[in-house]
């Protein structure tokens, strides 16, 4: 075998024979990696030649061929079928003929090919709105079922595994302490820092303690913990339930007569509603610690000054408001995570989309409900 084997380029040549027949001559190495001609190269010639009835092939000096030749020939056969030109395949190598026969054995199923539809901008907005409207009853049904499941739980009739609940408590609560501590500390620090800069101008830097204390207990403790848990646990719930959906595990629960709401969603909601207030208290304390660092480090307050002022400003009501909010946020994050998980489509990409959606939905619901709470607490004078 020659060592420096330069493959011959693939060449196709069309020539007209008598009696409305075209001869297609194929030479060279027709392989994918060395490049093959496209149909367009000879299509002009085919179009220009009038009243062609038949096509024949002649293969000269073709040392090798692979899929490259087959794709070219399939396109050519397709073209001939559209233009009612008969094709005489006898000039082709036998292997090529057999493979072409296999490729055309099962006809294309009608309606299976999906057209690429480019909707106008207005149509896209319309479709998105309609999809959003259709998801509203589903959301209501999910929330309704969740409430009914809670009633069953209160009556002691809910069917779930204790081990699942305990495991979830550990995952949502104990394992989140690290990140909650870090973020709350920094939030307290930042609140104090922002306040300090302004308040120092009026000599009112003692009120940094009030700012951090009230800010953390009433709002930031619950919100920041809620957002962290939404990202951490809400996504996890959606991914867990979404993967179960893909594996038909939720169908198996349904056909076995075990409602997924009781078995899967209830323990998750309970776990978050129990752990969120505890995490919130933890976040409040660590946040005030962050404020303390700024107060003693930057503002030259003493530890006792800071603690006394905090104690004066923060009342039980403030802590209570924050804790109540955190329970509600916990329920919302669990609902969002489980809802998106159960709505998940049946593919890997769908699980990812469900997790993302769970986080976004959870955070949006947290902030929206916080707005409602702000108005409510103002009205109620809390």
């Amino acid at each position: 075998m020659d060592t420096a084997h330069i493959p011959m380029p693939a060449v196709v040549h069309v020539s007209q024979m008598a009696d409305a027949t075209l001869l297609i001559q194929l030479t060279g190495s027709w392989q994918l990696r060395t490049g093959v001609p496209e149909l367009t190269e000879i299509q002009q010639q085919l179009d220009d030649t009038p009243r062609v009835r038949q096509l024949t092939f002649e293969v000269l000096d073709m040392p090798a061929w692979d899929t490259g030749l087959l794709t070219f020939l399939l396109q050519l056969l397709d073209y001939c079928q559209h233009h009612q030109i008969a094709v005489d395949q006898s000039g082709l190598p036998e292997g090529v003929r057999r493979l072409l026969a296999l490729a055309t054995a099962v006809p294309e199923r009608e309606g299976a090919r999906r057209g690429a539809s480019r909707l106008s901008w207005l149509a896209q907005v319309g479709t998105a709105t309609l999809t959003a409207l259709q998801s509203a009853p589903e959301l209501c049904r999910f929330i309704g079922e969740a409430c009914l499941t809670f009633v069953k739980f209160a009556l002691g009739k809910a069917r779930y595994r204790r081990t699942d609940l305990v495991l979830l408590l550990q995952e949502c609560g104990a394992q989140a302490l690290g990140i909650v501590a870090l973020i709350s500390f920094l939030v307290g620090l930042i609140l104090a820092f922002m306040g300090a800069v302004q308040l120092r101008q009026f000599g009112a830097q003692i009120y940094v303690a009030d700012l951090v204390g009230l800010g953390m207990t009433r709002e930031m403790g619950a919100i920041m913990t809620g957002v962290i848990i939404a990202g951490r646990t809400g996504a996890a719930f959606a991914a867990q339930l979404g993967t179960m959906q893909v594996n038909e595990e939720i169908d198996a629960l349904i056909t076995m007569g075990i409602p997924p709401m009781e078995f899967l969603v209830l323990p998750r909601m309970l776990a978050l509603m129990l752990m969120m207030p505890l995490l919130c208290v933890f976040a409040d304390i660590v946040g005030m610690l962050g404020g303390l660092i700024v107060a003693t480090g930057l503002l030259d307050m003493s530890l006792l000054e800071y603690l006394n002022e905090t104690q004066r400003a923060v009342h039980l009501v403030d802590c209570g408001v924050g804790l109540f909010k955190s329970v509600v946020f916990g329920a919302l994050v669990a609902l969002a995570g489980c809802l998106r998980g159960m709505q998940c489509g049946r593919s890997a990409a769908a699980v990812g989309a469900a997790a993302t959606s769970a986080v976004v939905t959870g955070i949006v619901w947290i902030i929206a409900s916080d707005g409602v709470f702000a108005v409510l607490t103002e009205r109620l004078g809390l």
């Binding site: 199923r109 069917r159 699942d164 993967t243 179960m244 594996n247 038909e248 595990e249 169908d251 198996a252 629960l253 349904i254 056909t255 076995m256 007569g257 075990i258």
Partner: protein, 256 residues
Amino acid sequence: MALTVPRITIQNMTMAYGNFVIQRNLDFHIQPGEIFIIMGGSGCGKSTLLRHLIGLLRPALGNVLYDGASFWHASPEERERLMRRFGVLYQSGALWSSMTLAENVALPLGEYTDLSPRQIRNVVSLKLALVGLAGFEDFYPSEISGGMRKRAGLARAMALDPDILFFDEPSAGLDPISSRRLDDLILELRDSLGATVVVVTHELASIFAIGDKGVFLDAETKTMLAVGNPKTLRDASPEPKIRAFLTRGEDVTTTA
């Protein structure tokens, strides 16, 4: 001979996803104690038909009756009560991945019986042994092979000795010996427990070994082509597609 009420009746049923029709005008009965095969080419809606029978999808038209009583027009509670008589084996086993095999099989037992934990353990060991998985009680689904997962799914489907069993492609992915053992198990379940079995499968060997009756669904015409005993359909069906399917492409003549 008294006319027995069929265990399952499919009455003029049409299955559709929205506007896309999958199969229409399906009409057949399954008698008690019969092993019924749902056959057809790929994508014709066999698994979808199974999901309509077990209560996961609602028919677009028509009805499903169990022992003469409507399944889809009943209240959700009645439907749930009926569903407790089913045992379902899903295509990949659908084992709950956070539980061991023993816990998987034990869940329905714990839910619907009053057995003590020790008794449940005994039943679980028996069911796993019947499918050839003795000793694997404490393995998680991710730790065993696909074929073993399927067999564990079967053990779970059989846990309550249901009187109607549904199998979605039970032999897919099983080696020939396991497939044969599965066939023997299905026959035994029917003979000793009197179970009615509905199987979705392509495996010709199994179809002829265990099938009493079957329905052939066609993807092109989107309806059923024939109902009958598989051997009779193979030898004498007027439909060339059915004969080609049941002879693995050997019989492609267009007349019977």
